[in-house]
């Protein structure tokens, strides 16, 4: 690489770093200004003692847990079964799992609300609909994470070996397949968690308590508290994706050790 090229590389990289960090820095600095004249964590204190924060945050947390459970229950067996027994369904299943990328969330919720808000399908107020919607939104990530995990192990051989040793289907799934794709499921779960915690549209239009709509409301009414919450929200995303990175790296090490 020529010298001029390296200089340009640094220029682009520094620009990127500035673009990445300046808004975060501005938000953080702003969040410290809740007390006049001094820098303090007052805004954070205000946030943590606000009962609405606790309600909405724990609501989102619960939605996320249920979303992960639904996702694991539906997408893991499907991905496994498609690889093992019904490869002819591979194309349609993959096509469907990618649809949430094509259909924007606002369009999706529009369809959901209009479909399920008139008899005989009046379930628009049910929390189950919200969880199902979240499971759909996180489906591309969950399914692909699990499918990638399954690709790295030999599903066919493992299943047949276990069965020829007399293992039941339960044993095959829970003691052979799941432990082998544990990491993949975990990274899918953390991605789903990050998506649900930050998701705004679905919770807003299905009128359920959640973190993002609360933050949006706060922006209209307060100055420093939303800054504190934005910082927290960013830290949460960072933590989720950081965990995936760490866990994922462990997986590679594990495989290398195994061979």
């Amino acid at each position: 690489m020529k010298r001029g090229g390296v200089i340009w590389s640094w220029i682009w990289t520094i620009l990127g770093i500035l673009y990445f960090f300046l808004p975060l820095l501005a938000t953080f600095m702003f969040s410290l200004r809740a007390k006049l004249g001094v820098l303090s964590f007052k805004a954070y204190e205000n946030v943590f003692i606000d009962p609405q924060f606790i309600t909405s945050f724990s609501a989102s947390f619960i939605w996320a847990i249920f979303t992960i459970i639904v996702g694991v229950l539906i997408f893991v067996p499907t991905a496994y079964w498609v690889r093992l027994r019904v490869p002819q369904f591979r194309a349609p299943v993959e096509f469907i799992t990618l649809l949430p990328f094509v259909i924007p969330a606002i369009v999706y919720v529009f369809g959901l609300v209009r479909t399920y808000s008139q008899p005989p399908l009046l379930i628009v107020d049910s929390p189950a609909l919200l969880v199902a919607g979240y499971a759909v939104l996180s489906m591309p990530y969950m399914y692909r994470a699990v499918d990638t995990g399954l690709r790295s192990i030999d599903v066919q051989t493992l299943t047949e070996a276990a069965q020829s040793l007399g293992a039941s289907w339960g044993t095959v799934l829970f003691r052979i397949i799941l432990p082998n794709i544990r990491i993949a499921i975990l990274s899918g779960a953390f991605l789903s968690f990050a998506i649900v915690m930050g998701e705004y549209v679905l919770a807003q239009y299905l009128a359920k308590p959640a973190f993002a709509p609360y933050l949006s409301l706060l922006i209209q009414n307060k100055a420093y508290e939303p800054a504190a919450l934005s910082v927290l929200s960013f830290a949460l995303t960072w933590a989720c994706l950081g965990i995936i990175q760490i866990v994922g790296r462990g997986q590679q090490g594990q495989f290398a050790g195994g061979h």
């Binding site: 090229g5 590389s9 501005a26 067996p77 209009r114 499971a135 995303t237």
Partner: protein
């Protein structure tokens, strides 16, 4: 139809027909049932009702015609498309330069993995918190605005506002260029060093290498990635809503207000508006798939 397909495919196998095997399709039924109820059926409702009269439910093209004759809605499409073009082009070019710098630009190795991690986080950091971060940075009293003012340049005296087209584009770029870095990185990895060496041995200048070797190979993946970026910003809602309080005329914003209360005063028109969005997204994704196939010829 699917059942008979399975049976037909299994029938000629050398094994004796085993009854258990032909029931294997049942294993994927929970998935199809779930996605039918909560994805396929609600989405197809939009398509069907776009062609129905909202009172009589008779088949009609009137909703589509009304959409095409509504200056407000055409304008919404136009702004949505323009903002997506600007941010996919800007984010695409900047993201490519950044990815190329980190991967092939002669920077220390750790820069690459940290860039990828940052981009993974930033491409997921959209919506309400992102809007607030830019309010803190670039609103009339934001941090950067204050710094620039101290230097004697107030962007708000030069036609800049955070809450309109260019401001929103700047905010969208925050999740656009990291996405570009993430999806273009494998293509840059696929550029073989031998190609550069071979062209240098043949006496090609750096410009000629780019003009005749690297750029033609990368072009389909760059364009394909930009198409994905286009879709990414075309469907964005929460960021724009939180930033402008719903005061900008984007398709997603109009759909949101139609959902809160029938602001268009015409249910059928709302469906047609939403359908138009799906059609544009579908065209974009189809374009991406075609370009992706072209890419795979060179980059294995």
């Amino acid at each position: 139809m699917t059942i008979s397909n399975v049976v037909k495919q299994d029938a000629p196998s050398a094994r004796p027909a085993s009854r258990k095997f032909s029931w294997a399709w049942l294993g994927v039924m929970p998935f199809f049932l779930f996605t039918f109820l909560f994805l396929l059926y609600p989405s197809s409702t939009i398509a069907i009702r776009s062609f129905q009269d909202s009172k009589t439910h008779a088949f009609t093209f009137q909703n589509i015609l009304n959409l095409l004759h509504s200056p407000l809605l055409i304008n919404a499409y136009s702004i949505s498309i323009r903002i997506s073009l600007v941010t996919s082009l800007g984010g695409g070019i900047f993201g490519f330069l950044l990815a190329y710098s980190a991967i092939r630009g002669g920077l220390p190795r750790f820069m690459r993995s940290s860039l990828m991690t940052f981009c993974g986080v930033a491409s997921n950091f959209a919506g309400v918190p992102l809007a607030f971060a830019f309010i803190a940075l670039l609103s009339p009293t934001g941090m950067l605005t204050n710094w620039l003012r101290a230097l004697g340049y107030n962007p708000y005296f030069h036609g800049f506002t955070l809450y309109t087209f260019w401001g929103l584009s700047l905010v969208y770029l925050y999740f656009q260029f990291p996405l570009m870095v993430l999806i273009i990185a494998p293509a840059i990895d696929g550029l073989r060093r031998e190609w550069l060496e071979a062209s240098e041995n043949l006496g090609a200048s750096s410009f000629q290498y780019w003009r005749y070797v690297a750029f033609p190979i990368l072009l389909p993946s760059i364009l394909g990635s930009m198409v994905l970026l286009f879709g990414n910003s075309f469907g964005a809602y929460a960021t724009a809503f939180a930033l402008t309080g719903g005061q900008i005329n984007l398709v997603t914003i109009v759909i949101g207000s139609q959902l809160r209360g029938d602001v268009l005063g015409d249910q059928g028109l709302g469906y047609a508006l939403t359908l138009g969005m799906v059609v544009i997204m579908a065209v974009a994704i189809a374009g991406y798939t075609i370009l992706q196939r072209r890419t795979e010829r060179w980059l294995k």
